[in-house]
């Protein structure tokens, strides 16, 4: 029984495949952004980073377009 549970767990873990940096063509599209208005969010982020001296603080490298 334990073995079955482990196998099921392994199968689920294996199903969570990461998206490789070179496979992010669709994720890099503007309409794939989490926010519905990417242009407005870009402006907000720019203002935020200028005011807080926190350039890059709004996200992480490789999060969407895989461009470092």
């Amino acid at each position: 029984m334990k073995l079955l549970a482990l196998l099921a767990l392994a199968a689920f873990v294996a199903a969570c495949a990461p998206v490789a940096p070179y496979q992010r063509a669709y994720l890099a599209r503007d309409d794939m952004a989490l926010d519905g208005n990417p242009g407005f969010m870009k402006a907000i982020e720019k203002t935020y980073s200028a005011k807080e001296a926190a350039s890059g603080g709004g996200g992480v490298g490789g999060g969407g377009c895989g461009c470092n």
Partner: protein, 163 residues
Amino acid sequence: MRRFLAALAIIVCVPAAAVEAGAPAPALSMTPLEGGAPVTIAGLKGSVVYVDFWASWCPPCTRSMPVLDELYKRNKPRGFVVVGINKDASLADAHKLLARIPVTFVLVQDGSDAAAKAFDVKGMPSGYLVDRKGVVRYVHRGFNAEHAAALEKEIDSLLKEPS
């Protein structure tokens, strides 16, 4: 039980080994963007080759294209070759970018991800400078002015090495 768990962990977690400086360039056969005879890295032995993974959706890649083309044109007579491996989901996107930023170096497609997997590409763009003997000597991940300056020096030093 522990052994079983360890084996399971290995199966789940084994990552592909990324190609780094000092490793031989993977043996690959790639189809040109426009079709035709396949391009092999082994077939380019004797030349200094820059293998560049690029895509139209990657802004640093688009910035690197004119720089690479310039380096290619300048060093081609000395035995320098650039192979641009496209990673667009649709070749039409690649052609759209190439209409805007035309390049003269060799462009190939990698629809099956075979090349990207063989190099275990960790970021876009990724460039691998291969010496005349087929050994990867320098790896560039990302692209900016510093990469461009370093690449120019590296190409020059490798071209001076005997084949």
